[in-house]
Symmetry: C2
Subunit: 106 residues, 2 copies
DNA sequence: AAAATGTTTGGCTAAATGGCAAAATAGCCA
DNA sequence: TGGCTATTTTGCCATTTAGCCAAACATTTT
């Protein structure tokens, strides 16, 4: 059963990597195509070192690929299914909205 | 643009809630139907209080609903799309595997 | 060499995690 | 009712992890 533990750990790593507002913002932007770190930095607005670290988290989780061309490093999605991820999350939030306006959560 | 920040925060909350091995294990088990806390405790093997806290995280994120019947509290998925989530994560991990055996991650 | 673009490291604060003990809740039974 | 048991949740504490800023470092371009 220890193999399973390992699998859950890996899966959780992917989800945890996505579970941060700035990282989500970058992932969504990258759906349109690759971007350099400088673009993402302008998008999110945090310190460059912070952005770089967030990108490293996503890279280590296997969600992003990086490629250096000249001075810049470009990041792109390695996985096509991220969009579906977002749809699912929206489902959660919408259901939350509905039940908040009608009744309780049971 | 502050509304967007809020949206990203809420989305991230859902993903972060799912991003823990024990919580993933419980979510997967709950796909088959509702379970009481005691079942989930046996499944995961952690201390009862720890399980209860993990369940609270998932409940607060809007992923689970709880209902007390008699002595026991039953938890169930509030969202149908969790299965798709897992499929997506698997895609990530498989692609990882493939590229690990062939070449680098670019 | 100087400038531009990222990454790494150190230090600091905040948040997450896990376990134990105590409290809350519900059922049972004399 | 009063007490006893079973099931969860809460509070509290210690430990670990995440996040951020600033400074130092590395690489490529000019």
């Amino acid at each position: 059963m220890n193999v399973d533990r390992q699998r859950y750990r890996r899966r959780a790593e992917v989800l945890k990597a996505m579970g941060h507002p700035s990282r989500l913002m970058m992932l969504e932007a990258l759906q349109a195509g690759e971007m350099c770190v400088c673009d993402l930095q302008r998008l999110v607005g945090s310190d460059m070192s912070t952005i770089s670290k967030h990108l490293a988290v996503l890279r280590n989780a296997g969600i992003l690929a990086d490629e250096k061309r000249g001075l810049q490093v470009f990041y792109r999605l390695r996985v096509p299914c991220v969009t579906r991820f977002f749809e699912c999350v929206e489902e959660v939030l919408e259901q939350d909205q509905q039940e908040a306006s009608t009744g309780s959560r049971r």
